[in-house]
């Protein structure tokens, strides 16, 4: 697969499940350089001029295609902000796989801030998968600060799966979305922090069109001395429905601040929020131990299931 070393290959596998050159369109960014690109008849990828990043153009009516745009940082001390814009035509059905892996064995911080903007055309259906992962045991921090903006036209559907399970020292994620009539946004966020990591995740979803719908669900685990903040606001500006949920397991000396909020600006906006934070129930551990698992194995099973 292209010209990647073993660390880079393993990062690719972690963040985008890529072990070989993927089918369809792709753009690999490795240590701030283009490491491989492929386009199709329907999906074009163009390097931005004057700023780092790419524009991805998906033609109307493109169905059953995928775009992979993984980023790998394996040199210590790289700091970059990258702007990727997705222009998705009407009536598409496409899977987009992003993700960033940082391996830092050095003493300098490595940081990748990906600014993604999605312009989703009418009736289009997009599945977006993004994984963040860090490895390496250098003193330098692994930092990821993604910004995601989603602008959805009428009847479009966007399903976003965002996962950060391991190794990222500091992250500040900001996601905003604006939905027109009958557009539907589904967000599933999975987050685990350990060591002394910090993670902040904020959402502002504006339901602007009649019949628009958002479901923003975060499940997270804070272990060791790590801390997390989840701040999700759904604003209903039309007859619409929205639901946000933050469900967290807290362990050791972890700290979690959950701030789900709702803003209703229309009498027919139906908005719901839920938040729950708690430690692993003793009964859950005991049950799995009666099946022959050790306490540590039981804990791993519970966490894996919860974040699965």
């Amino acid at each position: 697969m292209l010209n990647l070393d073993e660390i880079q290959k393993s990062l690719m596998a972690e963040v985008a499940d890529i072990t070989d050159v993927p089918a369809g369109a792709y753009n690999f960014r490795v240590n701030s350089e283009l490491a491989g690109r492929s386009t199709t008849d329907n999906i074009n990828i163009v390097t931005k001029e004057g700023m780092p990043g790419i524009d991805i153009f998906i033609k109307p009516n493109t169905k059953n295609e995928s775009v992979h745009i993984p980023v790998v940082v394996s040199e210590s001390g790289i700091k970059e902000t990258v702007y990727n814009d997705f222009f998705i035509g009407d009536n598409c059905d496409v899977v987009i796989v992003a993700g960033c892996g940082i391996d830092n064995c050095g003493t300098h911080d490595s940081q990748h801030d990906g600014i993604h903007r999605f312009y989703v055309g009418k009736n289009s259906k997009i599945k977006y998968v993004e994984k963040h992962y860090g490895s390496g045991n250098g003193e330098g921090k692994r930092i990821l600060n993604p910004v995601t903006e989603v602008y959805m036209e009428e009847n479009s559907v966007m399903e976003m799966e965002m996962e950060q399970i391991k190794g990222v020292d500091s992250t500040e994620r900001n996601t905003i979305a604006e939905l027109k009539a009958n557009a539907k946004l589904i967000v599933k966020e999975r987050l685990m922090t350990h060591g002394s990591q910090t993670a902040v995740s904020g959402y502002k979803v504006s339901l602007n069109g009649e019949g628009s719908n958002a479901d923003v669900v975060s499940r997270s685990v804070a272990r060791d001395n790590s801390s997390q903040t989840f701040n999700a606001c759904i604003a209903g500006n039309a007859p619409c429905s929205g639901h946000t949920e933050c469900d967290s397991i807290i362990m050791d000396n972890g700290k979690i601040l959950a701030i789900p909020s709702l803003e209703a600006n229309d009498v027919d906006a139906m908005l719901v929020h839920e938040a729950a934070i708690g430690k692993i129930a003793g009964d859950q551990l005991v049950k799995l131990m009666t099946l022959g698992l050790t306490e540590a194995e039981a804990e791993e099973q519970i966490i894996n299931g919860f974040l699965g």
């Binding site: 499940r219 469900d247 129930a281 009964d283 859950q284 005991v286 049950k287 799995l288 131990m289 009666t290 099946l291 022959g292 698992l293 050790t294 306490e295 099973q301 519970i302 894996n304 299931g305 919860f306 974040l307 699965g308």
Partner: protein, 242 residues
């Protein structure tokens, strides 16, 4: 074979020592279906939890197949071949029925194998194998899944803590059928059930009547059951509806 020797269990009740189990000795032979009954607060569930290692006795010894397991934890006892079905089965967000059965069996479990355990407890396997063990399942469904985890483990000693608690009458009829099947397939393993239910007591090889933490009487169903009928130690299923 399980042997409990001179088991005492006391708890600190606001500075006062309260004895839940008093110098209790009991032997559960292999191939036996034993029902422990008694009024509420007689120490039945505590005794079951002591067998599994969830609670540690204040004094006394526990032997399993001749080995002293008194100081062993839950995991070690589970690995030696003791299983425990909770009175109130635990829910797990994100863990599927198939996962729990796989953990129970201790090996990779095909969907077909998982389904066979679910079918045995009267659940339509296809509908359940991929369900999460969360609050979407009813008490009766959870109870049956709990029993299926013990079937998947198939250990030498299975302890059920009030399997009838919290289930509806219709599920109860099925539950009795499951225990009747277990009774006929017992071979040289043993089953201990904490129960007040007359129908479960009727299929017991041995009934142990517990009162105030002591064994008041033990013997076959024919010996013990007649004097229990009409007391809280042996209720008819319909009592649940009253």
């Amino acid at each position: 074979m399980l042997e409990l020797k001179n088991i005492t269990f006391t708890v600190d009740d606001n500075g006062e020592q309260k004895t839940i189990i008093k110098d209790l000795s009991l032997t559960i032979e292999n191939g036996r279906f034993v029902v422990i009954t008694g009024p509420n607060g007689s120490g039945k569930s505590t005794l079951a939890r002591i067998i599994m290692g969830i609670e540690s006795p204040t004094s006394g010894k526990i032997y399993f197949d001749g080995k002293d397991i008194t100081d062993l934890g839950i995991t070690e006892r589970a690995r030696l071949g003791i299983s425990f079905a909770f009175q109130q089965p635990v829910r797990f967000k994100g863990i599927k029925v198939h996962d729990l059965l796989r953990i129970s069996s201790g090996k990779e479990l095909s969907v077909a194998e998982a389904c066979s355990y679910l079918s045995e407890v009267g659940l339509c396997a296809r509908d359940y194998v991929n369900r999460e063990i969360n609050s979407s399942l009813s008490g009766g469904e959870l109870k049956r899944i709990e029993i299926a985890t013990l079937l998947a483990r198939s250990t030498k000693l299975s302890v059920f803590d009030e399997p009838e608690a919290g289930i509806d009458l219709w599920s109860f009829q099925n539950l009795i059928r499951i225990f009747e099947n277990m009774r006929s397939d017992i071979k040289d393993s043993s089953i201990v059930i904490i129960s007040h239910q007359e129908r479960i007591l009727r299929i017991a090889d041995q009934i142990v009547l517990l009162t105030n933490g002591e064994i008041k009487k033990t013997g076959t169903a024919d010996d013990v059951l007649p004097e229990l009928i009409g007391t809280t130690a042996a209720v008819n299923a319909c009592e649940k509806l009253k």
